[in-house]
């Protein structure tokens, strides 16, 4: 641990972006503040690094709020591991330093952690945050290409709304990043997901087109059987697909369409000019905009994210994507544990709702609470999706999902990684997010207890270095109705 603390102090010197230019010596007030890292002798014995440390200064950019979270158990999720009694310095939107005994820079606001945990902001790997307000109100709902021409071309970034009430409700619970993905519709190709940040910056997109979502389960590809689902607005019987599919949906039909679409897209990509010339291309069932959208998938730049549960379906996808040289992520994966070694070998990650433990349909007969632990032990990268019944409104419950995975055998730090550093890697944003390391975006959460525990909540949340007001529409409703005995004015004036 001491070695790691040393690394933390050194890391504090290596700042990314604007601050990086200031490394190398004392800086003038006009250039910025400095944080002084004390020599080893000044640190408490239990925090003293093992090798000799020179006094270090950490340059801080001017004009940016600077925060020092002091005395925390810091789950860095990076090479430093867990650091007891450590500080996190936030400046210029970035993490400026993580380690024991960082001296407060002038003007910094100090937040005493009193030994409570600090983690990176959390990430939920399947949501409709920003593209959905109320499931059953279609005018508030930009989540699916169902019954439209665009399927692969469906891009969630066209719909993102930073003023959705779900954003503050989710971030005050510690979730600062999310994959926003299309919902299942009636076609194989659902569309393209993006990674967003949930901070105060209205430009939500961190990385667009991070995955092409597809659905590889005939039960679901038809929309699922949904007779009971009056509250979710599901139609009663949707046994056949639409969009790319018509007629009965079963595996051979689904695969035939999928292969045809990939083949069409390859031909299109190879002969794009000819395609646009009169008579230049044979008829293709897939529309031009969808073919365009598949280009980065064929180039291996964008993974296919396949909702699939049955072990045999997962195996078939592994074989096909290997043969076609496509990147693959498994989502759902109720029976993924049965294919764990193959997934590990192919380095295909799995997105899980760790609650899944019932034979919900004939593709999920092997569902078990041990899924996450078994995949993790086999070396498969696991990231957690929020509870599948409310992936957006309760995206905040990824902590409970992770906690349940721990309760069922997954290592604690691995479960925490499944909502921080691992999704950062899977979704290609690990250079700026996912660990508490100097130079990364300052998505930082201070908790009042174990972050995976159901009784815990954040006491402070930072997203890209900005301190988030701990308010939401829900806290306002709560405060209005908290005391029904108030008689001074009608409650509607409170």
């Amino acid at each position: 641990m001491r070695t790691k603390a040393t690394l933390a102090l050194l890391a504090a010197l290596i700042l990314a972006g604007d601050a990086a230019a200031q490394i190398g010596g004392p800086t003038g007030a006009s250039q910025g503040q400095t944080a002084v890292v004390p020599p080893a002798a000044e640190l408490p014995a239990n925090a003293r690094p093992s090798n000799n440390m020179m006094p270090l200064t950490v340059p801080i950019p001017t004009g940016e709020p600077t925060y020092l979270i002091r005395g925390a158990i810091v789950h860095t999720m990076g090479p430093q591991g867990v650091i007891q009694g450590a500080d996190v310095l936030i400046a210029g939107g970035k993490i400026a330093g993580v380690g024991q005994g960082i001296i407060m820079p002038p003007g910094a606001q100090v937040i005493e952690a009193n030994g409570r945990p600090v983690t990176p902001g959390l990430m939920a790997s399947f949501t409709q945050l920003g593209i959905l307000e109320i499931d059953l109100e279609s005018t508030t709902n930009d989540t699916t290409a169902d019954a439209t021409v665009a399927t692969a071309a469906f891009d969630v970034t066209d719909a993102l709304n930073p003023n959705s009430t779900l954003i503050p409700i989710t971030r005050v619970a510690g979730v600062t990043r999310a994959v926003v993905a299309p919902e299942t519709g009636s076609s194989i190709f659902l569309g393209q997901a993006a990674v967003i940040q949930l901070g105060l910056d209205p430009n939500m997109v961190v990385r667009p087109r991070v995955g092409m979502f597809v659905i590889f389960d005939p039960f679901r590809a038809g929309g699922g059987y949904d007779a009971e689902d009056y509250d979710s607005g599901g139609s009663q019987e949707t046994a056949s697909g639409g969009g790319l599919l018509s007629g009965p949906v079963n595996r051979p039909v689904l695969w035939a369409h999928f292969r045809e679409t990939i083949a069409d897209a390859r031909e299109y990509l190879a002969r794009q000019a000819a395609y646009h010339a009169p008579g230049g291309s044979r008829d293709q069932r897939t529309t031009r905009i969808d073919l365009d959208a598949l280009a980065p998938v064929l180039r291996g730049e964008e993974p296919i994210v396949a909702f699939v549960n049955r072990a045999s379906d997962i195996r078939q996808l592994l074989a096909y994507t290997k043969q076609q040289n496509l990147k693959l992520i498994i989502a759902g994966g109720a029976e993924a544990w049965m294919v764990a070694s193959e997934l590990a070998q192919a380095q295909v990650p799995v997105l899980l709702d760790a609650y899944t433990n019932l034979p919900g349909d004939f593709s999920s007969l092997g569902a078990t609470l041990a899924n996450a632990a078994r995949l993790d032990k086999a070396g498969v990268r696991v990231a957690f999706m929020p509870p599948s019944n409310e992936p957006s409104h309760n995206a905040r419950r990824v902590t409970q999902i992770a906690g349940n995975a721990v309760a069922n055998g997954m290592e604690y730090e691995h479960a925490l990684a499944a909502i921080t550093s691992v999704p950062a890697q899977i979704w290609g944003i690990a250079d700026t997010y996912g660990t508490l390391e100097a130079g990364k975006d300052a998505d930082v959460v201070l908790w009042d207890g174990d972050p995976l525990e159901v009784t815990s909540a954040p006491t402070a949340v930072f997203i890209k270095g900005q301190k988030i007001p701990m308010e939401s529409r829900q806290t306002k409703l709560r405060d209005r109705y908290r005391d029904l005995t108030r008689k001074d004015m009608p409650l509607g004036y409170h």
Binding site: E183, D226, G234, E237, D353, G366, A367, N389, A407
Partner: protein, 485 residues
């Protein structure tokens, strides 16, 4: 909502109710106004036919079991440190701090562990929307007309739903199974003991009354919008009133018949109508109403209608806005049944807050958790913990001993079975859960679950882990570990 997951969805539906010992007679005059009958006129007792599907549940024999040195949340509000509890002959026979070991008793050291009453889920669709959730098993909504008081959820329950086995592994020992919420009046619910059985009758909680499931708001009007209505909330309200008006007449007709018969007159029995018979028993408060109702303003209308016709609403389910009318619920002795934090799936669920249960409880009304889900019935303790913690964060004093009532004593009260279960008190049914740790921790498991003193689930013993027929011989058998997996 994500169609991918729809088969696994909670069923934001509601339902059900409970039976009192036959209360004194109430004559209801045809215009729906209730007239109090002088005591001397209470000569005509209701003679509704008996339950056509009587319970055949039998508690299994078990040796006396003593759990000692443990923390007990009794469900009465108390927390006993270093406590002991003795179960004999299916009942709780002693509870306290120092209990001698009876001859032949199994003794369990509960050090570091917790004991609570068995969890009661007052809102479940296990069996009527079982796993697998396919067309063949979709039996929860008789969505053929908006008022179907004649149907009974018990006739739809598939006892081989694997969901029951997962629920017992989560410590849930009693379930109320409700029809869905498509209809204004959805039918009778049924209260079950969570025991593996070949027939529903063998699961039926002995002595538990029936309830009637009714639904407010969006669902009925959505389902019947283009099927003859109702298509508005005013249509919904008119529908309830019309149904109870007919029931009032029906009840009157039968009481007159019984009265005439008793007086020795030659009279023909009126035609029997199973739906109106159910509603008539609701009017006599033998059957209570479990009312799916999200919005506070709609709850107020339903309270008025219940007064107009003289029926009892035991609880509002999915009571997302209960915190807005907690005083009204308290004053009318109606419970609020809700989730810890689900919200926003439809407009009537838009105002959900995490402090809901805690605020209703603090206002002096009866509040509780429910699952409405085959997933959350497995971890109602965690959901109570969420609600408890949300309340504590705004400064409410909620000891564990109080919060545990939100999943034990309060649902027992709303089901009118509090004299039998819901707390750990002498002579109650020994439905008991031993937890590996604080039940309000995400890391704790139900370690041993007793139903009437019999060890129905043991986390450490696969032979005490029920399996549904459906799961035998399927892929994963043995690796998914039965209950709890």
């Amino acid at each position: 909502m994500n169609a991918w997951m729809r088969g696994r969805m909670p069923l934001w539906a509601a339902g059900a109710a409970v039976l009192l010992v036959v209360v004194g007679l109430v004559f209801l005059i045809p215009h729906g106004k209730k007239a109090e009958t002088p005591a001397s006129d209470k000569t005509v007792a209701a003679e509704w036919p008996k339950d056509p599907f009587p319970s055949t549940y039998k508690a299994r024999a078990s040796a006396p079991t003593l759990i000692r040195n443990t923390t007990i949340l009794t469900g009465t509000g108390e927390e006993i440190a270093g406590g002991s509890i003795l179960m004999s002959d299916g009942k709780i026979t002693e509870i306290g701090s120092n209990i001698g070991v009876p001859a032949g008793a199994t003794v369990i050291d509960g050090r570091g562990k917790f004991v609570t009453p068995g969890i009661i889920d007052i809102h479940s669709h296990l069996g009527v929307y079982p796993s697998p959730g396919i067309q063949s098993t979709s039996d929860g909504n008789e969505a053929t007309k908006p008022t179907t008081p004649e149907v009974r959820a018990e006739n739809s329950v598939w006892p081989q739903d694997a969901g029951f086995t997962r629920a017992i592994a989560g410590g849930t020992t009693t379930l109320e199974i409700l029809p869905g919420s498509a209809n204004l009046i959805g039918g009778r619910s049924v209260v079950l003991k969570n025991v593996w059985a070949r027939t529903v009758q063998e699961m039926k909680f002995p002595g538990a009354p029936y309830d009637l499931k009714m639904a407010c708001g969006e669902n009925p009007k959505r389902v019947y919008r283009e099927k003859g209505g109702p298509q508005t909330r005013m249509g919904n309200m008119a529908g309830y009133r019309a149904a109870f008006e007919k029931a009032t007449e029906y009840e009157h007709k039968w009481k007159k018949y019984w009265s005439d018969k008793k007086a020795g007159k030659e009279v023909d029995a009126p035609d029997r109508d199973f739906g109106l018979e159910t509603l008539a028993q609701v009017l006599e408060k033998q059957i209570w109403v479990q009312m799916h109702c999200y919005r506070g303003d709609e709850m107020a209308f339903m309270i008025d209608i219940s007064k107009e016709f003289g029926f009892k609403i035991a609880a509002f389910h999915h009571a997302i806005e209960a915190y807005k009318v907690a005083d009204l619920l308290r004053d009318n002795d109606i419970c609020a049944v809700t989730w810890a934090d689900w919200w926003g799936f439809k407009l009537e669920a838009y105002d959900g807050i995490q402090e809901n249960i805690a605020l209703v409880d603090a206002a002096g009304a009866c509040a509780m958790i429910h699952s409405d889900s085959e997933v959350f019935v497995q971890r109602l303790n965690q959901n109570v913990a969420l609600a408890m913690a949300a309340g504590r964060r705004i400064g409410l004093d909620i000891p564990r001993g109080r919060a545990v009532r939100w999943m034990t004593a309060n649902p027992a009260k709303a089901l009118n079975i509090l004299d039998k279960v819901g707390t750990l008190e002498k002579s109650k049914m020994a439905d008991v859960v031993l937890w590996t740790g604080d039940p309000f921790s995400v890391y704790s498991h139900a370690e041993k679950v007793y139903v009437d003193g019999w060890l129905a689930y043991d986390r450490d013993n696969p032979k005490r882990s029920p399996r549904a027929d459906f799961e035998l011989g399927q892929v994963g058998e043995g690796s998914t570990g039965g209950a709890g997996q």
